[in-house]
Symmetry: C2
Subunit: 208 residues, 2 copies
Amino acid sequence: MPRQVDHDERRRQLTDALLRIASTRGLQAVSMREIAAEAGVSLRVVQYYFTNKQALLESGLTELGARMDRRVKQRAAATAGELTPRGVFAAVLGVILPSDEQSRLDSMAWTAYYTAALTDPALAAVGLTLPNALENFLTARLAAAQQAGDIAPDRDPRTEVAGLLALANGLTSSVLSRQRSHEAAIEIIDYHLDRLFGPASTLRPPPG
Amino acid sequence: MPRQVDHDERRRQLTDALLRIASTRGLQAVSMREIAAEAGVSLRVVQYYFTNKQALLESGLTELGARMDRRVKQRAAATAGELTPRGVFAAVLGVILPSDEQSRLDSMAWTAYYTAALTDPALAAVGLTLPNALENFLTARLAAAQQAGDIAPDRDPRTEVAGLLALANGLTSSVLSRQRSHEAAIEIIDYHLDRLFGPASTLRPPPG
DNA sequence: CTTGTATGGATACAGTCGTATCCTAACGCG
DNA sequence: CGCGTTAGGATACGACTGTATCCATACAAG
């Protein structure tokens, strides 16, 4: 066997280059040649590691989902002790909102992909997986919290989750277009969480 | 003077064709030739009535804004008598959400434009005008309602409006991607309006 | 009727796009 | 040491893009 290159690593470099372009100049600025230039390789290399532009695009969307997933886990881990139901929601919704520069860029790319998915079924299949999983996860958590008496019994968990996710997504849009600051968005989220759960506490109260 | 053509009418036809393409196949499918084909005219005609592709795109965005504006006014007019503050909010937020097939198409186009505006300052300037005006309008209305005692005095009108608009936009996204039905979205909006105002009444109660 | 201008048909241009092909250099294995 | 496969450089193809140009026609004004 001749010289071996780590294909996964190469694909990751190219996917990162793609996402840098998509998040700064939009998905319509993404071309095979632009990706090559951004990654500092030749066009042939891009073609060699991805059969299609379509495959490249889907790889970008998958990577975005993986990043979001990583952020949620790392935020959950950063909170010492067990999370309250409210803590779980604050973590997930806080990850959806753009906070630092990198997550702002990722949100830009995510928005671009979301729009593209509206007229591209292949992208829609890949892109809706994470949001649906997120909604189901939060709904299950909220239903459990309701059983435990943490929220009022007359609330419908699925409706509440749908509203909160829509709120977070809408706020993300307004933060990206600089209509609102990150802090203002967080404040609105917290306000709504206060109405759903009691006043704020991220940690589960000590038993007894 | 030779044969005169109504330029405004011609431009309107072309803009409509553009929006039909953008709402069904996305903004990236919009080309001068596609617009010509969709409108049933030659490429030259498109060039003749619009100096630029950029001008054409901005015309499309302006038209979308005008349609939204028309819908709000017509919904307000459809409600007999004077609108309560809640009625105003229900009308505006109800217009943002896609209801019939046409408003779904317009929402698709609007979403495409919104995303494009994130990386195109010229579009952003045109596209943010209406949302900002809407936010200011609703904020003023809500502040007045607060003065009149229609909502609790501890609410911040600007924050409430920002949250409601973000919610409506986020719900629009989820309706477009068929994660949620129009009815479910309306229900969530009504639920949040109930929490802000009292229980639902669109008409102002008779004086005395 | 002639004339000048508004309208639009036909065609061309230089770029850019995704994809395909040809060929060479590098290198692990027998 | 070659042999064969992998990694990529170089180049080309046809399609499509926005824009420009040339020219014909139609029609209102003189």
